[in-house]
Symmetry: D2
Subunit: 338 residues, 4 copies
């Protein structure tokens, strides 16, 4: 950590800062400038980081030298990337993995019909919500356990492994029984109780970036899961909240190359929620693949006019087939495959 003092800091204050640091067992490196003093704090960065350095009188700023995340960092894997298996599908290798399905599981007929379309189009993982985080308490909240059972039926029918959202620590056991991958949604990205809980699961976890989460925040939330022992984590960019109102969110594709550099974990992009406009989902999907994404998650529905949620942004089956064809070409142009 590097401490810069205020211009008014007295000798006594500087001595007090040094004393505190030494009291905590760290060493100091002092460099006096004309206006301010710079104090380097030397020792275990993680141990230093949790001390209230900024609370000491005379301190103007505290700047960390090292990154706050450890287990998720590329450095932890010696600069390599990890891959994560969902059922028998591997994410993080040369091929681009496609996940698709409806926003919500609505009925047996609906989920099995869509699952077949998902498979036919060439996607390899089925998504579908049984527990739905909705802004309004009056909106459809998902079928719950019934929805999980229908997802398992759809898997049996098609062979596609299933990813579904978990919203609460109390749901873990139930969701683990039916799903192949747990999804932690954007609104729960800093639900730390839930992160710890899924960190103790045997299943892989896809963690979605919160709407106002920085890339560093996302990595720190993933660190929670790894710190509990579960290293099977996927990170998902799904749009951040900005001042732009034309699009539902601002899909932040900048996060893709940045994450691929910073962490060994695979990166998924969800263009459906990211841009929120059906007609532009495919363009953002191919852009995500060009930017380096390992997998693409989209919403698809065979009857969006009757969908119980997100009908306006779900692709129709033929639109999804078109997306797959476009993704295939761009994947190959960047040295990957479908």
């Amino acid at each position: 950590m590097i401490i810069v003092t205020t211009p008014e800091a007295t000798e006594a204050q500087i001595a007090h800062i040094v004393e505190r640091i030494e009291e905590w067992g760290f060493k100091v490196d002092i460099s006096k400038g004309a206006m301010r003093t710079v104090i380097g704090v030397i020792g275990d960065d993680a141990a230093i980081r949790v001390k209230p350095l900024a609370a000491i009188p005379g301190v103007e700023s505290v700047t960390p030298v090292l990154k706050p995340y450890k287990l998720v960092s590329r450095e932890f894997r010696g600069g390599n990337h990890s891959h994560v298996k969902i059922g028998d599908v591997t994410i993080g290798e040369a091929n681009i993995v496609l996940m698709s399905g409806p926003c919500s599981v609505e009925s047996r007929e609906q989920i099995i019909g869509i699952a077949k379309e998902v498979k036919k189009a060439g996607a390899s993982i089925l998504r579908g919500g049984a527990f739905k985080p909705r802004t309004s308490p009056y909106a459809f909240q998902g079928l719950g356990l019934e929805g999980l059972k229908l997802l398992a039926e759809a898997r049996k029918e098609t062979g596609l492994p299933v990813i579904t959202e978990i919203m609460d620590t109390k749901q873990l056991e139930m969701v683990e029984e039916y799903a192949d991958c747990l999804q932690v949604g954007a609104r729960n990205m800093q639900n730390f109780s839930l992160l710890k809980e899924v960190g103790r699961s045997r299943l892989p976890v896809m963690l979605k970036r919160g709407m106002s989460a920085t890339i560093k925040d996302l990595l720190m939330s993933a660190e929670y899961i790894l710190a509990e022992g579960n290293f099977k984590v996927l990170l998902c960019e799904r749009g951040i909240r900005t001042f732009e109102t034309y699009t539902r969110n601002t899909l932040d594709l900048n996060a893709v190359p940045v994450l691929k550099k910073e962490t060994h974990l695979p990166v998924v992009v969800d263009p459906t929620h990211g841009i929120g406009l059906r007609e532009h989902v495919a363009s953002m999907a191919v852009a995500a693949v060009a930017a380096g994404a390992d997998a693409i998650m989209t919403e698809m529905h065979n009857d969006p006019e009757h969908a119980k949620s997100d009908g306006e942004q779900a692709l129709l089956p033929h639109e999804f087939q078109d997306l797959v064809a476009r993704v295939k070409k761009v994947a190959e142009a960047v040295g990957r495959s479908l």
Copy 2:
């Protein structure tokens, strides 16, 4: 709801839109312009709102006429405001209520010492975290049950009712046993499982605005709690995330008069997290009171240099006393009292 069609919408598409709406049991009011057709959808707004109107081909935009929240709205109370009791302290009346205490409960000595300072300075509610949502898994996570017990001891010692954060549905019973008011933190503002759970509690709930939550989002999250039957809800503005980096967050005081107009629920402001700079907390506190806040929550610590969290933004006891004196004067200037 008001539907505007695309300029390319065909007669057949418009007929299909109308058919769908009538199939759902609503009426239409059609107004054809030179470029676009405007279709008013008449009926129960809440019922219309959940239909996927935007998914129908030919629809360009869908604009609601009514607000999506009901129980939290001023209209629901005939234009009046509610007040909420925490212990025997009422929030939402002419007097400004002050809540203060440390970020985290750290020890018996610490919490009782600070509680006495809180009381001495003139505040009437004690805050303190037993379960702490921390960005890093390696930071202090709170004393848990032990912290709750110490809060109860501090209440016994000082008579101050206690507010503390609940992070998980599994903690409800435990927290209810010791606290006088439940706090749902900014990171859990859209943890809908938790909202439903505290909606079934007998205790009042202070709901903090999420870092990227619009005012409407905040009201919709409060609606979840009221919809479960708990009307004892306080809304807390605590800073939103913007591009500004000088301050920790951007305390959005605009939300104060807006909330006082839109909802009957009392409004609390937390300038400590809002601006995140100790020296400016008091200025933002008085500004919040001038803007119309009903209560102010701040962090105070008697030894911030050794605090286990947020030491850099906590006020010292004498700084808090100064804040109270300043708040008193401004409160009186706007026709209120301490």
Copy 3:
């Protein structure tokens, strides 16, 4: 325009609203609901739009039906796209155009050396700043007229047409003498005096999106230029300002398909300023092409360690060659060429 009244609006207020609208020469379509009245205002939308409807007592909200831009809209071109010529290079056709060069023109040797590298790598337009908008008055402000002359020399030497920034209406004549395309920078996107001035130029104009400009704002600023008679306008996405601090800006690739849908004008993407990190510029460039961009502008420098501005984000010549190779493959994958 669609007016929604407040729930408290009286009959007299509604009559007064209607009277005002009719006084301005428009017609009304009234639909009374249980809680609010909806009043459609019928007539020339542009004429209605400038009236202070929201200032009339009893009005809760005013929602426009039509888009506020006219000349820039796709509809104005019957749904087609335009192309714009810079020198003899056409932007907006099947081929992707590359523009590159240094942030600032620094010396004859520098600009001619870089121009040759730009050409060699396969780019067809040279960029370089003579007038530099710098956050600090103490930073290098550009060579001015001398810089323009050096750009013209570099063009003579390589045949590459030249694009350069104009910062002030007073500079127009001078810049027009040496440049092939005028650039209006992000910080001047709403410098309406400058927009009008370049709207009267014979040269094409590349308008960069402001850091906090919505897509609609960008289109309205372009509308200023077209309204003065200059239809040779390129729109450039170059990153918006969000809460994310890892990247310099957030390159908003969502804007690409949205602009291609809304306007007939060609779309350029500047990944250098967009992400601001040299090592990730190429990834964002290929993502931009996949998303549908017509041209890519990047910064390149042959000696970034001595650059007078933006050295840290400029590509080295060999990095730019690599970018060109990657762009070529992705361009072909989306049915375009270099």
Copy 4:
């Protein structure tokens, strides 16, 4: 400046970084950690700041020790504050100064009528736009020279000094002839040509914060004006752009105490544009005074239903009188006066 190297930085790269720094005439202070090397660069901070340190291979981050602004800083005035005179009204002393008037000058009758109301209510400076920066080219663009003359007439009639916006360097001479204070609008905050031009004016300048400008950006833009010799500068907070859509902008009152700490320049707050909702302007005005503002600028109109711009947010004369009464009380509560 403090340089942190990447974990992969080689000895040769570190030696090269040091060599570069010494070649520029600065000294270094090297501190080797387990993972990264920290290099302090010692010398004239302003000279170091403009060097492309981040462009040197092996550099991970560059952190400045000193503030980038000099003339505007409190330190430059020995920790004191300045005051600025507009006509014979002084801003920055114990009394709160009120500026009010219409968005646009529309006619002799309008501006003189409103000026009399402004004076009657107790404000001491008249605002009014002759050149109007409008998002749409089809909206009213101001009366120009005619508007300036009418402002001068209103001043003659009431004795109130006049502040009005300048949008272009070409307008300076004309505006200087009629106005008492130049306003640089939010959209021109980084129009550096204009900043330099007004920096050479004999008139005071009120600089409005751009919609996406950080506090540091605002101070750097003010530094441009002072660097040209004009120290009569007022800074105006007028709302930033965030994700919130209920309010027109997010008035950032956090900027008030921060600016009062960082700079000696007086601080004005414009709640009218800041929140953009007539009914909440007074609440934000008193909050601004409580936060420490030196002056408040608001829009007032005697016939907002016929205003040519911003009618929906302008106060009526009686509403402004009410605001003045509320401001007076809060000003006194914070030890100031009207």
